[in-house]
Symmetry: C2
Subunit: 421 residues, 2 copies
């Protein structure tokens, strides 16, 4: 269902590589029908026109179709299609992160009741096998953290900003010109896409239901080239990180641009690549790195799921974990986060300013790790102060920053970014 | 079976984390018996003494035991134990790379006939989920190459040699003192261990039987600190790489120390970490990085397999690919390798020597990419020449090197290393 970029990749694989794919599952794989909105738009497609249909029921209700691949995206009408497919006893493969993030646990429970499989390796990380690894090979671990770069658009933009000191708008325009960002980039740059994916990984890793609303979100549009300059001076890169941590059953999940030490492997993930670092009590740190999007990489994941199902067609459905079996502990708000912070402030260029700021932060229990006084502007009589802190509670920092920004000598708190180690 | 380092880790997980492991498979996991050679040596173990046995048949023939975990290692008597277990209808999990490399395809075929599962995630890469990923999530790919660092002992030694300019013997002694190398290090430093693991990955990735004898092997004991110095000057790291490539069905598999560009991710894998880079026609390059050995990481992989089996006990066995379905193409000898080379020669310090060497290499079709003249020794009247070549066929290079080393002005060809890009 769906013959866009990824849909074409999957259709082409099924049409042109059917022989070797069929050998590997010891069963013939045949593309039966393809749902499209407008068949006339696919006259150049490899898919024979007689396979195209505009009626979803031609697929959902065809008894000769065993596996349905959903590559439409979004929740409407796909959620209804997926429910229909599962209820009709079809196995389903989807790349739909939004549906799996919002409705995944319900759909998986339905699939279990109906004794069909619902696989979604392609929903996170493109060609990186992270979903299956969390569900299977790493399942014996108590996962302590998931730290990831799982949105290629924003990583491309940040890479441009870091290497070329481009402003956000310029980098975004460049990404749009390259086809890496959509005309309306909100879903990517405000972190919705990353939050969907993180909620899927966190649900699998922590064995409980974590929805997109459980993920704190801060986008990248407020980043300034100066932040990249100071990050570099301080030994860090700025990356758009999707992080979920678990501590005594309490979960914290967040998506934001953050400082990360330049020699950390996540700092070296450039362009449209993705990476996921899993820390478990047995496996230690395992890092996965690869192409997080694109036609071929996503086709790799979709076809892996299709072949896994095809290999076992006609047998009882293997048992998979269903969420949520483990529900102790709570989802913690961002105010409970404890980490180091980077602050960039525009202040009056006069003696005693730093002391006033340090005084307020100190009263809030926030101690300073480093202070740089930068870019004094003689005409405006302002200067820029760059501060890094020792670990502090976010609620305390936010409160202190409110007091700092109300000081007469403080023009503006320009940036507040978390520092991940 | 086996209560060594990894065996203790698995037993401890089953004993102390039984509750949460059982919840995740919706079934109670019980450690029933442990095979040991000498029970008196395990009096400090967490395993209750009444679970210990010295008789393998107590385990192999116990009808109440459903899953057997083999953590003894080696081929004798373990191959017989594994055959016995499978024939008796037990599911088997093993971390044994030697057995899986030498007898894996036969054992897997037997397991298929007996309708039991034989899983071996822990045989390669410790906590890195590479075996399952190749068998499942990446199965739709035509794999073009597998490039890996899969022996922690040698990577630790090379890291010491690179960072501290230690000689091989000194770095080996240090590794032995740290418990990272065995008293007899042959299995690691001569590449047997890496060849076993590579043959497993290559068999899975290329869907055909590739045994340890199909892997060309060169160890690391001849490396000299000077090689690390010149590698660094030329922009490379030296890593002990296990590589298998596929070209039109022809396979080439080799384990050797090689130059790799310093900014390549494999160049940054330090200490006892492992990494595997898979290149497939759909997934592109996917890199896995993590702890390749050790009690906990290996326990993660073993328990992942145990839980995968436990979740589906009583159901028909899921179908897995059995080797070898794809057997076109041949295994190519090392002489057919085509790559760039690094050469270090000790020569007479007199005019015309380089011309003589370049002449011989040129006649063999080998063109030079760079030449460094180093370390003239006035007393001995010798100098060191460091050469890198453009891509050449290994057979041609070996033949030319034979001629070069017979020159009167050439004292010795000290090093010949491949350059991977």
């Amino acid at each position: 269902m769906g013959l866009g970029n990824v849909g074409s990749g999957v259709a082409n694989a099924l049409l042109s590589q059917m022989d070797f794919l069929s050998v590997r599952v010891n069963r013939s794989l045949n593309l039966r029908k393809v749902l499209v909105r407008d068949p006339s738009k696919h006259s150049n497609s490899q898919v024979p026109p007689q396979l195209l249909t505009t009626n979803p029921e031609d697929i959902l209700d065809d008894p000769d179709i065993h596996i349905i691949v959903e590559l439409i995206g979004g929740t409407e009408p796909t959620t209804a299609y997926l429910e229909h497919a599962v209820t009709a006893g079809k196995h389903v493969v989807t790349a739909n992160k939004e549906v799996m993030s919002k409705n995944g646990p319900d759909l998986l429970a339905l699939a279990r009741r109906k004794q069909v499989r619902l696989l979604f390796e392609a929903s996170v990380g493109g060609g990186i096998p992270i979903v299956g690894s969390l569900m299977n090979q790493l399942v014996a671990n108590e996962i302590q953290s998931i730290r990831s770069i799982i949105n290629g658009t924003t990583n491309y933009i940040l890479t441009q900003m870091a290497y070329h000191r481009a402003g956000f708008q310029q980098a975004l325009t460049e990404a749009q010109a390259q086809g890496y960002a959509e005309a309306d980039p909100t879903n990517d740059v405000e972190g919705f896409d990353a939050a969907y994916k993180l909620s899927i990984l966190a649900s699998l890793g922590f064995h409980r239901r974590i929805g997109p609303d459980d993920v704190y979100r801060q986008g990248i549009s407020q980043l300034h080239p100066k932040d990249f300059q100071y990050a570099e001076e301080l030994g860090y890169a700025i990356k758009f990180l999707a992080i979920a941590t678990q501590n005594n059953g309490d979960i914290q999940a967040r998506v934001y641009p953050a400082f990360i030490p330049r020699d950390h492997m996540l700092a070296k993930v450039d362009g449209v690549y993705n990476a996921v670092e899993i820390t478990g009590h047995l496996c230690g740190q395992v890092l996965f790195h690869g192409q997080g999007a694109g036609r071929e990489a996503t086709t790799s994941a979709v076809m892996g799921d299709v072949m896994e199902i095809a290999r076992n067609l006609g047998q009882p459905t293997p048992q998979v974990p269903v969420l949520p079996p483990e529900t102790h502990g709570s989802i913690r708000a961002i105010g409970d986060l404890k980490c180091k912070y980077y602050l960039r402030l525009n202040v009056a260029d006069q003696p005693g300013v730093l002391a006033e700021i340090a005084n307020i932060l100190g009263k809030g229990g926030i101690s300073l790790a480093s202070v740089l006084q930068k870019d004094a502007d003689a005409a405006a009589q302002t200067a820029e102060i760059v501060i890094t802190t020792h670990p502090a509670r976010e609620a305390s920092l936010q409160q202190a920053l409110g007091l700092v920004s109300s000081l007469d000598v403080v023009q503006e708190v320009n940036s507040m970014l978390r520092i991940e180690e």
